[in-house]
Amino acid sequence: MSAATMEAPGEQLDTWWFDVGPLQAIPVRGARIVRTPRRDIAVFRTANDEVFALDNRCPHKGGPLSEGIVHGRKVACPLHNWIIDLETGQATGADKGCTRSFPVKLENGRVYLDMGVAAAP
């Protein structure tokens, strides 16, 4: 891929917000995944309707974070219970590691993911 194509998303950031569905479709204190060609992205909804998006892979051994128990702004990985911060993707406590987070926003009850970033390597 040429450098020019790679930059395309950055140039027109505004136009890369993809509507991935209504907030209502994500359970409160839960998550759903958005499947993209490059990766599965876990979109989380907290008790008070905040949304966060993380690569759906735990920094420990790749556990699917979308299946974890959401509490506060954190999720407990379903495989070995690492606790991941939803905002930063960082493992908390004694564990070290970070999962990539993606720009996501909520507007008029719909969830938008920035595909410019999500589709980039």
């Binding site: 194509t5 395309a8 993809f18 991935v20 569905g21 479709a25 994500i26 359970p27 409160v28 204190r29 839960g30 759903r32 995944i33 958005v34 499947r35 993209t36 060609p37 599965d40 979109v43 907290t46 008790a47 008070n48 309707d49 905040e50 051994k61 790749g62 556990g63 699917p64 299946e67 974890g68 128990i69 959401v70 509490h71 506060g72 702004r73 954190k74 407990a76 379903p78 495989l79 219970n81 606790i83 507007e107 008029n108 969830v111 595909m115 589709a119």
Partner: protein
């Protein structure tokens, strides 16, 4: 800023005579009383009044005269031409005129649109029947007052601020009032579930019935309203229906005039619309993407707009508002502000006082307050709101922040020193009104040395447990070295109580939801953690079978999706093979499913059944549907519940078999399956003491002998290997089933979450268990009955329910984005 003498007065026309219009004019006359000739068109046939005070008018606390903001004299004094009862229907931007419904034209130099918003009417059948009203202006209030004078039933649709204020007013006026709310908790936009729980309790205390998660499907009546029907089929009698489900900015006029309109009339920071001569203000506008539904923002907008109109070029623009809400229902103290999206221990501070019904929560981010919810004691609401708006760094106040403004400035106390410093008459236990002196005197005089002693002797900490840590600090301070500290292990860091104490209180205080439990037992976090939430969910489920609504999000993934997660994120599927028996047809169906869904591994488990490993999550419902079609149901290999019942071939085939061990195993499995338990439960039935089914390392085991059945309990063969102990001996299958089910119920009711049966047996002692099950037939019988009752609520196949579409969202991605060719334009 007075205007230069001689310059001609300009013509200002204001559309709408509501709260925003009133405030703009006040601010304008204060700055430039002579600058404009003002004409105001108000669709309502009256002077300007304080709309938010309509609730007290409905409740009877105020009259209309009390809430008038600008009386006739005010309009005369400012030479305002008030055209009351005149609705404007058109704006001609070229001619710069507005036209009223009656056809009158009025020219303007500057125009202000302040037409507010409209209540949303949900378009269910019957929404236009007489007797259906909204809650927006004085006419609505008068309609409600007229209806309430006739008495009868009122149904309020919408459990937000307006709906609740309407309901409270109607109830005070003597109507039998019900609130229907679509969401699970009241005022969900302003409150977290904990505050909403307290609010619901307070509203219900007024005799108002609240139905949450309830959706209106139709309003019924012949010529006037008679009833409201919900989509679950319930019908509620109604002589009056109030729709309070939200508002929508009134944009039609602006839109028809060709102004830029999105959700509201779009304005810039100086409240200018896309036409520089036309301004908009109040609830009808959209500013930086936000529409507002409260008065504080429109007061701020009014100040900016008045400055613009007065020609003050130096005035700062409007940048948006932070919001705070109070509910105007007498006796309900509630405040919420900002963003209180769920925090966690690091960035939220929670204070609960169950005895006083107080809940306070302040949410911080980077040492700044970003949100606050207060219930029961809102004295500090404005202080927190002020800190929030100013973005004050509160790091230095953090330890005492939650106690409020009055506590600021003192040194930071550790809890022990704080308790020691209290005076003797300071109240420690709010529930039972026990003060410090009583406790310390009892400790010394009666030689008390443990928390339980103090509870028994003084009642302190015996009701909600919230003061437990204070009582412990008192014990430590009074006994010094002599206090060994308690061996009590709190359930988790969110609460001071043990598992057993929490379970006890759930029953004694009839706590039936997560928020109720957390509030009444003084949880220190707003909504728990992954340790306490699954435990509480189980305790509530066990205590209130059929009544408590399971919280899927408080369950580990396996129990939520009824399959076992594997290391690569796929799942395993284990159908029941009752007692280890299968048939050619079942095996054929399993083979078909494995091939059709390309399931990579098929394995015989250690529990006498077959495991299909590596199933994709999306395939689960279809896999289950096919297994269901062949008569197979979930083996609950994922559940804290009954797993397998292993059997041997027994008397049917084996030359040593004494009884039908296979048949008994099947009966036990069918009877016990589906039940939720503190940890997983495994059984085995062996046909003779050779014990080929390994019954003596199971949670419950049966070993058949010539004279009947030896019943075993408390075995394990996992992390710990432990042989069972003998519970007793019975002669018939029926007795065996009754004993085991009763023992299972005792385990369900008593054990701490995540204690296997053997742990519970060790903690409780065999004698006690034997006494409760074997020696006390009456008690056994009632345990058995309770078990049967709770089974009625759960014995449905979770796979069949999901294959039929339940929680379909759980099994599909939210969205699938496939690559498309980019930059099509360039090609």
């Amino acid at each position: 800023m007075t205007q230069a003498a001689g310059s001609p007065r300009r013509k200002l026309v204001v559309l709408g005579n509501g709260m925003a219009a009133g405030r703009v004019l006040e601010e304008l006359f204060a700055r430039a009383p002579e600058r404009y000739d003002v004409t105001v068109f108000g669709a309502e046939p009256r002077v300007n009044y304080d709309r938010i005070m309509l609730s007290p008018v409905l409740a009877g606390d105020k009259s209309f005269e009390d809430i008038v903001v600008h009386d006739d004299a005010w309009y005369r004094r400012h030479a305002v031409d008030l055209r009351r009862g005149e609705t404007v229907v058109g704006i001609d931007r070229t001619a710069r005129t507005v036209r009223t419904q009656a056809g009158a034209l009025e020219a303007y130099d500057a125009l202000v649109i302040a037409v507010g918003s409209r209540p949303i009417l949900i378009p269910v059948p019957g929404h236009d029947l007489p007797g259906v009203v909204t809650f927006r202006d004085l006419d609505d209030v008068n309609a409600m007052l007229a209806a309430s004078a006739r008495g009868g039933n009122a149904v309020v649709i919408g459990g937000g601020l307006l709906g609740l204020e309407a309901a409270a007013g109607l109830a005070l006026r003597g109507m039998t009032t019900t609130v229907i709310h679509l969401m699970p908790t009241l005022m969900e936009r302003q409150l977290d579930p904990n505050a909403a729980y307290l609010l619901q309790k307070a509203i219900e205390k007024r005799g108002i019935e609240i139905l949450t998660s309830a959706n209106t499907s139709a309003i019924l009546g012949d010529g006037k309203v008679e009833a409201v029907r919900l989509d679950d089929g319930r019908t509620l009698p109604a002589d009056l229906v109030v729709m309070a489900v939200g508002i929508r900015p009134h944009v039609a006029l602006a839109k028809d005039a060709g102004l830029e309109v999105r959700r509201g009339v779009v304005v810039d920071d100086f409240l200018r619309t896309s036409d520089p001569r036309i301004f908009a203000v109040g609830e009808c506008v959209e500013h930086r993407g936000n529409c507002y539904g409260l008065v504080a923002p429109l007061y701020e907008m009014a100040r900016t707009l008045a400055a613009s109109l007065a020609g003050d070029a130096t005035a700062a623009g409007y940048t948006g508002s932070a919001l705070s809400t109070k509910l105007k229902v007498t006796g309900v103290d509630l405040f919420s502000a900002g963003d209180f999206s769920e925090g966690d221990e690091r960035d939220e501070i929670v204070l609960r006082d169950p005895a006083r019904g107080v809940y306070k929560r302040v949410v911080l981010r980077d040492n700044r307050i970003v949100g606050a919810v207060l219930y029961g004691d809102t004295a500090d609401g404005s202080w927190y709101f002020d800190l929030l708006k100013k973005g004050t760094d509160v790091a230095s106040l953090r330890d005492t922040l939650i106690f409020g403004q009055a506590y600021q400035g003192g040194g930071v106390l550790d809890p022990k020193a704080a308790v020691a410093a209290l005076s003797d008459d300071a109240e420690i236990c709010g529930c039972n009104g026990v003060c410090k002196g009583v406790i310390t005197r009892a400790i010394v005089a009666k030689g008390l040395s443990s928390l339980d002693d103090v509870r028994a002797q003084t009642k302190a900490s015996a009701s909600c447990g919230q003061c437990t840590s204070k009582v412990e600090a008192l014990l430590a301070a009074t006994l010094g070295e002599g206090y060994a500290g308690s061996a009590r292990k709190p359930l988790c860091k969110c609460v001071d109580l043990t598992h057993e104490e929490v379970r006890g209180f759930i029953l004694s205080k009839a706590l039936k939801s997560l928020p109720a439990t957390m509030q009444e037992l003084g949880w220190k976090t707003s909504c728990g953690c992954p340790t306490c939430r699954p435990a509480l969910n189980y305790y509530l489920l066990c205590a209130w079978p059929g009544e408590y609504r399971d919280d899927a999000q408080s369950r580990f993934i396996n129990e939520r999706v009824h399959a076992n997660i594997q290391k690569d994120g796929t799942f395993s599927v284990v159908p029941r093979m009752w007692g280890g028996l299968t048939t050619p047809a079942e095996l054929r169906a399993i083979a078909d499913v494995a091939e059709r869904f390309k399931i990579p591994t098929v394995k015989v488990t250690g529990g006498q059944r077959i495991d299909l490993l590596g199933v994709r999550k999306e395939d689960l419902p279809a896999v289950w549907a096919e297994l269901n079609a062949a008569g197979m149901v979930s083996g609950q290999a994922y559940a804290k519940g009954l797993r397998t019942v292993k059997t041997c071939v027994g008397s049917e085939w084996c030359r040593f078999g004494t009884q039908d061990s296979t048949g008994l195993g099947v009966k036990l499995e069918r009877f016990l399956c589906g039940s939720w338990t503190p940890h997983k439960v495994k059984l085995a039935v062996s046909g003779c003491p050779r014990n080929c089914a390994e019954a003596t390392v199971k949670d419950f085991g049966v070993v058949c002998v010539e004279s009947g059945y030896d019943l075993h309990i408390g075995g394990a063969a996992g992390l710990h290997v432990r042989a069972t102990e003998l519970l007793g001996h019975v002669e018939t299958e029926e007795e065996a089933i009754e004993h085991i089910a009763a023992a299972m119920q005792l385990y369900r009711e008593q054990a701490a979450y995540l204690d296997r049966v053997y742990k519970w047996v060790e903690k409780t002692g065999m004698e006690k268990i034997r006494a409760a099950i074997v020696d006390d037939p009456e008690n056994r019988r009632s345990l058995f009955e309770r078990f049967k009752r709770s089974q009625r609520a759960v014995q449905r196949d979770p796979w069949a329910e999901r294959a039929a579409g339940r929680e379909a969202n759980e099994f599909t991605p939210l969205a699938v984005l496939t690559p498309v060719r980019r930059r099509m334009a360039a090609e």
